[in-house]
Subunit: 236 residues, 2 copies
């Protein structure tokens, strides 16, 4: 890769433990073998991911942290290896960088500075959940995290249910795993009996479970979602 101009590779990582041998594409392995400098959301998990691929010694690589606390002025400094012709890999905490994380600031900087950005194919829990939900995949919305405050969360749930009712769009959102149960209960409290809810859990792993039912069918038999990585989908 040395004779090509330096660029930024957006490198997806696994979303479930010990799945690297099944979900990581040859292209990702090729790029990780060639890049020495990584901007990562979390150094520990990024090192562990690269290490699991058994391609090279992690001790030879350079890692810098980029996360929601990084301000825009630091970005140019973090990307300075590009000026010396060195390509950079961006790896987020789980799945695809710049989706549901602050990585898009790096990409925005690259567009402004005419640096090529190459997104690699890899695990996206949003897409896996939508595929397996059976809900409308031709029109959908992703909301990220819903509000934590109970009243604001209920308001948001009712607004997205209403939006789905009017437009037919699938509504996708997530939660910090230890608050999953509270969100699932809020969905059953706030939504109409006929609204469809999908819980997509442990995606891409051997314990994966994706189930879609009406609110009335979920009542009294909510699955145990506590601390289980889950994507929530709603279709009214």
């Amino acid at each position: 890769m040395n004779n090509k101009p330096a660029q930024i590779y957006l490198i997806p990582c696994t979303i479930a433990p010990n799945t690297q041998e099944s979900v990581i594409s040859p292209r990702i392995k090729q790029v990780i073998s060639a890049v020495d400098y990584f901007l990562v959301e979390n150094v520990r998990t990024a090192r562990r991911f690269i290490s699991s691929l058994k391609l090279r010694a992690v001790s030879d690589l350079h890692f810098e942290v980029f996360n929601k606390h990084t301000d825009e002025q630091e970005i140019s400094k973090l990307l300075s290896p590009l000026r010396n012709g060195q390509s950079i890999g961006v790896i987020s905490e789980a799945g695809c960088p710049a989706i549901a994380d602050p990585g898009n600031q790096i990409v925005r900087w690259a567009h402004r500075n005419k640096v090529k950005v190459t997104p690699l194919v890899g695990p996206s829990s949003i897409i896996l959940a939508l595929m397996a939900s059976g809900m409308n995949g031709q029109n959908f919305e992703f909301h990220g995290y819903l509000p934590i405050d109970k009243i604001l969360r209920l308001k948001k749930i009712q607004s997205i249910e209403n939006e789905s009712l009017i437009t037919g769009k699938t509504q996708i959102f997530m939660e910090t795993p230890y608050r999953n149960r509270a969100l699932a209960e809020a969905l059953l409290d706030g939504c109409a009996d006929q609204t469809n809810i999908c819980f997509a859990c442990n995606l891409s792993s051997s314990t994966e479970e994706v189930r879609t039912k009406k609110v009335s069918e979920w009542r009294g038999q909510l699955p145990d979602l506590h601390k289980i990585p889950t994507i929530f989908l709603l279709h009214a």
Copy 2:
């Protein structure tokens, strides 16, 4: 796989020619090696895709067509091999099945009939485009195809621009490749100077090009998008 209950595998395929060796994960190869019956959007392209993986003789496999002309009553018949313990692979024309295609009807049938659905990791042009656009990846909407009629299309463009302005959401949409130029021109005509437009072309291929600029910067220098597979993104 013979001692597990029969299930439906949602199998992503390539989105650009000759990329199977770089983007297709080991898990997809494993499933295609084990499944004999496929529901596909287009038999010719599905056979060509499986054939390109060089895993087995395509002549040994059974293909049935499922597309937008298939009515709901036929689905149960098409899925009848499940009742004999045979798993089924679903392959769409490009990328991830049940996203931007009618495959979700198959998945809905599966949920109703308690058949397990396993979505596999693979190329999604929507996710690759969003990653590389530099636009908001925490809140976004996918609209599928915009209306063909000029007046309706302009109305839709202005409504999604307005939606992005109010909510900050990235707006993602697509077009049949021979109408790309008309859509790009309609975007420049219909949107405000400051609105950001991204054209994400030939994703995952060696001719991939993803560029984000303001409407005012695109004016007079639109790239040639004619018949080039493109995802369009807008952020006001």
